[in-house]
Amino acid sequence: MPSILVIVEQQQGKPNRVSWETIAAGQAIAADMGWSVEAAVAGNAIAGVAGEVAAKKLAKVYAVDSPSLDRYNPDAFAAALKQLIVAKQPMLVLMPHTYQVRDFAPKLATQLGRCVISDCTGYKKGGEKLVFTRQMFQGKFSADVSFGSDGPWLATFQNGSFRGDKAEDGAATAPIETFPVTIDAAAVRNQPEEWFKEAKQAVDLTQAEIIVSVGRGIKEQKNIELAQQLATALGGEIAASRPICDNGWLPMDRQIGSSGQTVSPKLYLALGISGAIQHIVGMKGARAIVAINKDSEAPIFEIADIAVVGNLFDIVPPLIEEIKTAKS
């Protein structure tokens, strides 16, 4: 039976949250295609991670455990995973489209004489044929892409394209197989240093999962404080439509729209934003859009999942309180 191999990403003994999404994806495809699904974790002393992963409904979990994989670098990781894939011959290898995977997956695929379809948002089964869906031209179009070779196929999934909480738990713990790898130290050319955080000058709204955005309806600069409180309560970032930034009420890097940033967060909460097309194009890819606006005919309501027609100054304060309560 063909198998799917999900490569789980881990950082310092903890599985990267997005890997649950990839497992959910693997399980879904396996169910659809009648295939089995397995997972692999690569790193050093990752027995604990492997154990966590094994709680999911998987046929097997491979622990690719080696001191050479202690700190991520593309040479070692590609070499190790290549050995695993060559040995186990999965039909399909799935990875989350993280910065780390972007760094080695194309290299791995090339070493295998194969290719990666990267940054997919889903898959489709047409008869026996499996195609992967991804966005192109900055989200203007979707593409169905198929593989033109036999396995192993490699694909990476975009954050949020599957739900991590839908990854099924196994009835029993999956068997864990330690897979030894030989990595030639001389072949590892990159010497990475420690991770660090920086006081970032420019905010990258494309990374924010929750965005609270203000438009003209906020009326005055001093009212932005209220929106900021809401953003903080939700654990999100504040952003704005163009006129707000033009007025200097928020810095330019908070602008969303055709002349600002394009975002696709989990939640986009639009306060007092009318929904002019110049703004919409910057946020219509959000997974959930909640709009609060006094004007029932505001165009933003056409693309909102949840519409609240009302005065944002009446609604936002109790909303902040409710959120704080819910979170405690």
């Binding site: 006129p243 330019m252 165009p299």
Partner: protein
């Protein structure tokens, strides 16, 4: 605080010598460059040991790509192109040959077709073109001919030596909103040129500076303008045929306003649709973009557009003044061509062929200046002489009093036109005067509060999103984009007038006549006055990045305190297919 663009002072500017600098890469500028190249080639064939070089001939085009700022209906009278490039039809991008033409008069709900198409509007033998595509093609030919077109560079100032034009200064790049240099600042170049040809299009900014400095319009009628607001529509097949030409008059304008619409059928079921409103209307609340939307609501038009999709939007002013409004066309070191001078036939609604011909004549003269080694008025003055002996004069002379005849309204205009038809264009007087359009704007307190008969032309269009659109939605389809962090290029010389006088007298008409929502009156929270007065104090605010470079504000501002100057090169609309 509004900070306006102004060339940085006290810095070293790189210089580049030039033989000829053509400011503007539209039909006039490109025709000029092509003709100049032909003349140089001919000369070099005959004089192989004293060849002229094309190395130092430049076209400055402010758009990022050739043709991006070109907008017109358009119908091309092939006369000039046939002289410039015989057989051009075989390779130039042409939408269609005009196959059918009609003029309709629209009433409130009905319409009737004029039994005879008035002769100036008879278009057989003309071509429907996209001026954007056509100019792009011309640009390729210019580059292939060996003349450099600098795209993304605007002419921001003329350089003078006393009374002589000695060159052009290009735009300073990399200045921030406060007029301070950014880390990637690049000063504008001083192009020291023997001959400067101005081909900036309608209401050119350098042309305006030049005409003012040398009083070149002292013997001319004040120039008058219209603004064309255009949408490109994709229609269901067969609705409008390629090459079909429709003009309309009447609705939604009253007899007091000048204007009308055009619909030209192009290729692939794409039609060009637009409304020109004369920039001499009296109610300052009139909004030309709204006029276009109202026009589309007429059943005759709405039916035509049903099931169609609007794919692009834009606006541009056009000069109506005709022959008497031409300024002095040449002087020491300069010549003025195309719409910058005002070579438009307002009766035929055509100017592209005249612009091209003027560019060609200017090229002839520039060539002679190079050969003679003299680019003073003595030589360059041959340009206006030649224009006066060419078919430009022949054509424009016939309609020299046409537009002015309409100053007193539609019926008066018709009467004058009919008289002019039988007096070889003369009409009632040898030379009809004209008055700048903005002078006819009336104070709000002299007009009915609800707008009276013009009520549906005033204020913002709401738009249903399918047939009609609000200004912001339309604007999005102009593709206009500018570097955000730069000073405002709509230079208002005294914003106090906007905030204290204009608001009362005219109600800030710029917030209405700008087709791009650049001008807005916003609550002035800084001064703290809002707290104590009942009505919040407002001040003028600019969304300069919206600008589509139509120049309506420069033309129609009733106090004439707005100077449109080019923003950083490369910015502006993207009139693909327009």
């Amino acid at each position: 605080m509004l900070i306006f663009r102004k060339p940085i002072e006290g810095i070293e500017r790189p210089e580049m010598p030039a033989d000829v600098v053509i400011v503007g890469g539209g039909p006039a500028g490109m025709a000029c460059a092509l003709r100049l190249s032909q003349l140089i080639d001919e000369h070099n064939a005959i004089h192989p040991d004293s060849p002229l070089s094309k190395e130092n001939i430049y076209v400055l085009e402010k758009a990022r790509e050739v043709g991006q700022h070109c907008l017109s209906g358009a119908l091309l009278d092939p006369r000039a192109m046939r002289e410039l490039l015989p057989g051009f039809e075989t390779e130039a991008p042409i939408e269609a040959e005009v196959s059918k033409e009609a003029v309709h008069y629209l009433t409130q709900t009905g319409q009737f077709k004029l039994p005879i198409t008035p002769p100036p509007l008879q278009d057989h033998g003309n071509y429907v073109i996209s001026i954007n595509r056509f100019v792009k093609w011309m640009g390729e030919k210019v580059e292939a001919a060996g003349i450099t077109v600098f795209t993304g560079f605007a002419g921001s100032e003329l350089l003078y030596d006393g009374d002589r034009v000695i060159g052009v200064r290009t735009d300073d790049k990399g200045i921030d909103k406060q007029n301070q240099k950014k880390s990637n600042f690049e000063p504008g170049y001083d192009l020291k040129a023997k001959v400067v040809v101005l081909a900036e299009g309608s209401r050119g900014s350098l042309t305006k500076q030049l005409v003012s400095k040398f009083d070149l319009a002292r013997d001319s009628n004040p120039q008058t303008y219209g603004v064309g607001v255009k949408e490109l529509w994709e229609l269901p097949p067969g609705r409008v045929a390629a090459g079909e030409v429709i003009y309309t008059m009447g609705y939604p304008l009253t007899t007091k306003e000048y204007g009308g619409a055009w619909i030209y059928g192009g290729k692939d079921n794409v039609i060009s649709l637009g409304f020109v409103t004369g920039l001499d209307y009296s109610d300052p609340r009139l909004d030309p973009q709204r006029v276009l939307q109202e026009f589309k609501k007429h059943p005759f038009i709405a039916k035509m557009l049903e099931g169609g999709k609007m794919i692009r939007y834009g606006a541009k002013s056009l000069p109506y003044g005709g022959w008497w409004a031409l300024p002095a066309l040449a002087g020491d070191g300069f010549m003025i061509t195309g719409d910058s001078a005002g070579f438009l036939n307002s009766a035929r609604l055509k100017g592209i062929h005249l612009a091209m011909k003027s560019g060609m004549i200017a090229a002839q003269t520039a060539f002679e200046a190079l050969v003679k080694g003299d680019s003073s008025e003595k030589t360059l003055g041959l340009y206006p002489k030649r224009v006066g002996q060419s078919w430009i004069k022949e054509e424009l002379w016939k309609v020299r009093n046409f537009h002015q005849g309409f100053e007193k309204g539609f019926y008066a205009g018709l009467a004058h036109t009919m008289l002019q038809q039988v007096t070889f264009g003369r009409g009632l007087y040898a030379r009809y005067p004209s008055h700048a359009g903005y002078e006819r704007m009336q104070h709000l307190d002299a007009l009915p509060a609800n707008g009276g008969a013009e009520a549906n032309l005033l204020g913002d269009a709401k738009g249903d999103g399918k047939l009609t659109f609000d200004k912001l939605t339309d604007l999005y389809h102009s593709g206009t984009k500018h570097e955000e962090d730069q000073p405002a290029h709509l230079v208002i010389h005294d914003t106090n007038i906007c905030n204290t006088r204009c608001v009362k007298e005219f109600g800030n008409p710029c917030t209405h006549f700008c087709p791009a929502n650049v001008y807005e009156m916003v609550e002035d929270t800084s001064s703290g006055q809002g707290a104590s007065s009942e009505v919040p104090v407002k001040r003028i605010s600019l969304n300069a990045a919206n600008c589509v470079h139509c120049k309506t504000c420069d033309i129609m501002d009733p106090y004439q305190i707005i100077d449109w100057v080019p923003p950083e090169g490369g910015g502006g609309p993207n009139y693909d297919g327009m």
